[in-house]
């Protein structure tokens, strides 16, 4: 089952795909652009993986790491489908990252690889923006690069794990203004989902609603204000985001 969360007519609704747009839980059907899309779930802890596709690591000139490169993100960075993300005027390289987001469904502590997948509730698409101009080599990638307001786009849907036949064979694609710039497949994850759950749960307790952004494949390019960025993952839908400029936010 695919479900989203939208704001419409003064309330927040669970919503489902419909041939004519989106169907709210109360039966109303509306066009996709008549509702405001929120992240499909209220997220708990957000983990993100760096350099988790071999070709992308090569693209950034990194060698294979000794352990997964994990960092954490706060709740304020999350926005939904059809949102806008600000590109500061002073930067030269801001890029999208299309990622498979894994949502934890059961408390997980010291979980072994063989049991790991039963702790997964489902999946979402994530577009995890980064601004490389702000990279500093302290707890890199630092939060100014990776935890910006509006920098983590989630949605449009949360899809039950049972509905994805083989999560290790999903194509990921990113289009900028209609041109495909990024293309990968989850079969190329350096550390796969069961291994990530085993690793994280070996030193901390995972809880329902926690989200693991599993990393992005190669094919990152700079985006500019006005660009439309669309991330697709097989079976999970199509996540749209638009880049906005400082002036939209009343910044000089």
């Amino acid at each position: 089952m695919m479900r989203g969360r939208v704001a419409y007519a003064g309330a927040i609704h669970e919503a489902y795909p419909d041939a004519n747009g989106v169907r709210l839980a109360d039966g109303r059907v509306r066009r996709e652009d008549e509702v405001v899309w929120l992240a499909p779930i209220e997220v708990g802890t957000i983990f993100a993986l760096g350099l988790n596709y071999a070709e992308h690591a090569k693209e950034l000139q990194f060698n294979k790491q000794e352990e997964p490169l994990v960092f954490l993100k706060g709740p304020g960075t999350v926005i939904g489908h059809r949102g806008v993300t600000r590109r500061p005027a002073d930067v030269t390289f801001m890029h999208y990252e299309c990622e498979l987001a894994v949502v934890i469904g059961q408390t997980a502590k010291n979980v072994k690889r063989d049991n790991a997948m039963q702790h997964v509730a489902g999946y979402m698409i994530a577009n995890d923006y980064a601004i490389r101009d702000y990279l500093e080599n302290y707890y890199r990638p630092n939060l100014r690069v990776k935890n910006r307001d509006g920098g983590t786009v989630l949605g449009p849907w949360f899809v039950d794990a049972a509905d994805i036949e083989d999560v290790t064979q999903l194509e990921l694609r990113t289009f900028v203004n209609g041109t495909r710039q990024q293309h990968g497949n989850t079969r190329d994850l350096v550390t796969d989902i069961p291994a990530l759950i085993e690793y994280l749960s070996s030193f901390m307790t995972l809880a329902p609603g926690d989200v693991i952004l599993t990393g992005t494949p190669e094919g990152i390019v700079n985006v500019n204000a006005g660009d439309e960025v669309v991330c697709e993952i097989d079976g999970l839908g199509r996540l749209v985001n638009t880049i906005a400029c400082d002036a939209d936010f009343n910044r000089a």
């Binding site: 010291n110 500093e136 939060l143 030193f203 307790t205």
Partner: protein
């Protein structure tokens, strides 16, 4: 909704937190009451905000992997599994390494803080609390050390959030950590690279802090290391002190459903 009038604390076993005056808080704590963390928002830690910590890195900031001194605030998350309260018993994962007990001023945000100016920063602060920001000691600060900083119970907060009208000089508070029978570790919030207002201004330029969120002013350099069997008592200024005990992992091992 987050609201704070005086001393907000959440005694273990009670459904809701209490907001009481200093005398009532002291009386409650004098009875040995254990507490939950008095906050439920996001908790952000601030790295390298003690001038002594930066000085200790010395010329290393110009060499690989750092290559340049830090410019923007360096932050990290203390996720929800790390939250614990007064009199918590925290598992030491490896007693040979121990656990560093970083005593930090926790700045508790009172209302949505986005692009806050230095001059207005205190309007956005509801109060302050103590944060025992625990970590497995690690020398390199190149990569985000989630495995060292985000273990269960590694962010002990409280006992109380103290309303800002009780804390006149947040940028000049004595910090003290008493660990076992050793000499107390002492430091001060006055040695911060960014003071409270500057930190809030620089951080909220790129990320919003919400009511009930906490950002630490940062752990003092040279914080003491606890081992199994130790009890630490942290105090900052005149706020109620925070107690944390350290235990072995044996009783907590094994896969959980």
């Amino acid at each position: 909704m987050f609201a704070l009038a005086d001393h907000l604390l959440h005694p273990e076993g009670e459904t809701l937190p209490r907001d009481v005056d200093a005398r009532a808080a002291a009386a409650l704590l004098a009875r040995g009451t254990a507490c939950r963390a008095p906050v439920r928002g996001a908790v952000y830690g601030t790295l390298l905000n003690d001038r002594a910590a930066l000085a200790a890195l010395g010329d290393a900031v110009h060499a690989a992997p750092y290559k340049a001194p830090p410019q923007a605030p360096v932050l990290y998350l203390k996720p929800r599994n790390t939250l614990a309260g007064h009199r918590a018993r925290i598992v030491v994962p490896d007693d040979a390494l121990g656990v560093e007990v970083g005593a930090s001023l926790g700045i508790v945000v009172g209302r949505t803080a986005t692009r806050v100016g230095v001059a207005q920063a205190f309007d956005y602060i509801a109060g302050y609390t103590l944060v025992a920001d625990l970590s497995v000691p690690h020398a390199s600060v190149y990569r985000p050390s989630v495995r060292f900083r985000a273990r269960d119970g590694f962010c002990v907060v409280g006992p109380a959030v103290v309303a800002s009208h009780h804390v006149a000089t947040p940028d000049n508070l004595a910090i003290r950590v008493q660990l076992g029978s050793r000499d107390a570790f002492t430091a001060s919030t006055a040695s911060s690279v960014r003071n409270v207002a500057q930190l809030l201004a620089d951080v909220t330029d790129f990320m919003t802090l919400s009511a009930g969120d906490v950002i630490t002013l940062g752990v003092p350099h040279g914080s003491p290391v606890a081992h199994i069997g130790d009890t630490a008592t942290l105090s900052i200024g005149a706020m109620p002190p925070l107690t944390v005990s350290f235990v072995g992992p044996a009783e907590h091992e094994g896969e959980q459903p």
